[in-house]
Symmetry: C2
């Protein structure tokens, strides 16, 4: 028995990662030689040693860490490293790696290799890969399963994406309510295995109806002769497969759950949720949100080829260009005004910019409030008044300041007054739209975080130019 | 024994939430009467009934759900609801509620009430509240603890915010390596309690040196006569209190951990991390990030009073105003050019806008790549070339399109050419800065997500105006 070394986990990992990247990126021949593109000179022992070194390093890695390193490599080196990964680890690595990298990894794998890699996985991971991998392997994975599992998988695939049904697993250990804890322990020792991540057993009747749950700690803490039904929790927090995974995640956080049963409408046990699958879901979800807010499709990573990246960002740039063009046409309406008073051209971006900023602040607050269920129909009037109040005060303060600066800069007091008035009005528009846009999106059943920011910026730009130049046309010419 | 009802958790919760909000928001008298501001007419049985109804609803809620509802209420109603919360639940609710709501909740509580509420909590929650609550209660909470705990707390408070030391707890159950599993079970039954969220026991020697960990499932699956050291995991994933909580979170996700030991440099067991505290940390962290990206301070919520919200958003608006002012002065440099060719005023926001958009896309990719350790010094040249390539292609396509549109719109081919050239150049600036800004921030030891977006927008605005108007001055006058 050796004492556990006090090793810092993240330091150790960083070292291995650095070592692997170093070997592959600073030596072009190494990747070539691994991929057999250059017939390695057998006397070139350095390359052989480095390959062996690389294989050994890869073997020490957890699949998730390996996936990270694969993502961090350009395509050629990525393939070289992949060819050193054991078949038994490949499936798990494919599950962990981001979808953007799949293409290149499975390109050189035959369908048979791929099916073999998948066969090492748990059922839920098999379904995930079979369904989302670029090649349509669903049918073939299904036929490789035994009939009972096949039916189960078919059933699961009916549930909507981001539903509890999609992230539950089937590694259930059920017991009957009328046995003793001693019998439970005998049964466990006989089975020799408890599903990974279990903190409880599920208590069901003959018809698979969920009666309660029995935490493992309850088994350990109570007298062996007690019966399960005497000590089980008979009011567990359950989920239905149609529940949103989001809501399940928030329940796991609130109630500090580690596993929870999933039951159908009749109360029959269908599967279980684990905190691991919840954490994975939350991470993927927040990653996807971050990308969408920046207008980047989930298929792009930092190593996507240029052509793919260009295609991915087109839609967003096109939208942006359209809104900018509309704003430009609004300015075009006032060319006469600008030609009379060129200073307006320099001042107008200030009005537009500050409006966009305020609008985005408001939207951030509202989207967050919606996500936390703090914003409801009943408190909307209060919210709207609050945001308008904030906008009015900010408009008077900052608009007033810019008005004075304008007056001093151009010696034109009327122009300063127009500046102040335009800023106040545009901030009010920004606040109003900042509340209304996300709420309208929710009403229409859409995600309020997606696209709200583009819309508000378009409105405050166009609105800002129109208000400022319109007021200038009325009062300054 | 009753069968567990197949009740959908989130539906049930939504009903209770809706009921409470409904009662409080649609009836001004109710909050007044609860707070004793109007002497309730004893014959007004409706108000009495509603208050009783409210109390009953509150009593069914988990502290986290209660916190949510408190946050969703305007101040007056929030206080009314708070006065119905049991002292034993108040501490937990304070932990769960966002910091923005603390002020109003503890206003009407005396220090003694507050200390009593805190006393119901676990040690780590006590430290959290004592340290962050508006009133400085750290000293008083410390003196209310027994000396052994007091020293421990003092030690913990030395670790940096967002470190493992800050989110670990001390509910450790340790056992010796040389006892049998049967003895472990006897010991557990004798103690009658296992720390919440435990999936394992920690094996230590007489000097508290960590020797390994013993999963509860191992205790259940193995023969009672086996000794701990024969079946324990002697190479556990450990953390040190100085590790970043972020890194620990990613290790928990990767390795599907539920609890993990925290050891000091000598390998002595100090505390443990639980997946609950990790999930809480991740949620708070991502919430804070979301707000910072929108320029909203963590102290603001949707119900902060107007004055507070104005103050919170000042800094951000001031920065925005400064950058807009600089851009405005750049335009001011070219007033002569604009007065000769007013169309330029209408076209320039397009060049600036599209640059900001591209720059933000690039930054989103790089920040994400940095967070996932995919972006390293060694692959930076590749990344920079890639982003410049994407920018060049997008610039030629969209810039070309806008050039043609400009030509057709104003019948001026040279102006169209200037438009195309300016857009290509500004997109290249955006890509270059989009890579360099976040990498520089990391080099300076700062968070690359924070402020990068403001900087890139300022640069592409100013740059866009300068490039476009500069080229126009050279080629069009």
């Amino acid at each position: 028995m050796s004492a556990a070394k006090p090793q810092n986990h993240s330091q150790k990992l960083a070292e291995v990662r650095h070592h692997i990247l170093d070997l592959l990126l600073n030596n072009d021949d190494l990747a070539d030689s691994i991929l057999g593109e250059k017939t390695a000179d057998p006397r070139n022992t350095l390359l052989m040693d480095q390959t062996a070194d690389l294989s050994a390093s890869v073997a020490t890695l957890h699949a998730a860490d390996l996936a990270d390193i694969l993502e961090a490599l350009p395509e050629h080196q990525r393939l070289a490293l992949w060819s050193l990964v054991e078949p038994s680890v490949r499936g798990k690595a494919l599950v962990e790696v981001s979808e953007t990298v799949w293409d290149s990894l499975i390109e050189e794998m035959s369908d048979r290799d791929l099916l073999r890699a998948i066969a090492y996985l748990d059922l839920d991971d098999q379904v995930y890969l079979a369904e989302y991998l670029p090649r349509d392997l669903t049918g073939r994975v299904l036929t490789s399963l035994e009939p009972r599992l096949r039916d189960k998988v078919r059933e699961v695939m009916k549930f909507g994406k981001s539903s509890v049904g999609r992230i539950m697993d089937f590694e259930l250990l059920t017991i009957r309510p009328d046995v003793t804890l001693a019998a439970v322990q005998r049964y466990l020792r006989f089975r020799k295995i408890i599903p990974k991540g279990s903190d409880k057993l599920f208590v069901t009747d003959r018809n698979n109806l969920l009666l309660g749950e029995l935490p493992l700690t309850t088994v350990l803490l109570n007298a062996p002769l007690q019966r399960v039904e005497e000590v089980m929790n008979d009011d567990p927090t359950t989920f239905s497969p149609d529940d949103k995974a989001d809501d399940a995640a928030s329940a796991f956080e609130r109630y500090d759950l580690i596993t929870a049963p999933v039951v159908d409408l009749k109360g029959k046990l269908m599967g279980r949720l684990t905190v691991e699958s919840i954490v994975d879901f939350v991470n993927e979800d927040s990653d996807a949100n971050l990308r969408r807010m920046g207008g980047i499709s989930p298929e792009e990573d930092v190593f996507s080829p240029v052509g793919k990246a260009v295609k991915n960002r087109w839609a967003w740039l096109a939208i942006n260009l359209c809104t900018a063009f509309v704003a430009s046409r609004v300015i075009g309406l006032f060319e006469h005004t600008i030609s009379e008073l060129v200073a307006l051209a320099a001042l107008m971006p200030i009005v537009a910019g500050i409006g966009g900023n305020t609008g985005n602040q408001t939207i951030t607050m509202i989207v967050r409030g919606l996500a936390l269920h703090q914003v409801q129909l009943s408190n909307m009037p209060f919210l709207l008044l609050r945001e308008l109040g904030v906008a009015l005060i900010n408009g008077l303060i900052w608009g007033g300041l810019m008005g004075v600066v304008t007056w001093l800069l151009y010696g034109n007091m009327a122009m300063g007054a127009v500046m102040t008035l335009a800023m106040v009005l545009n901030l009010l528009v920004a606040a109003l739209m900042g509340v209304l846009i996300p709420l309208t999106m929710v009403r229409l059943g859409r995600d309020p975080a997606l696209g709200s920011s583009v819309m508000i910026t378009a409105l405050t730009d166009t609105g800002g130019f129109f208000i400022f130049l319109g007021l200038a046309t009325i009062f300054l010419l």
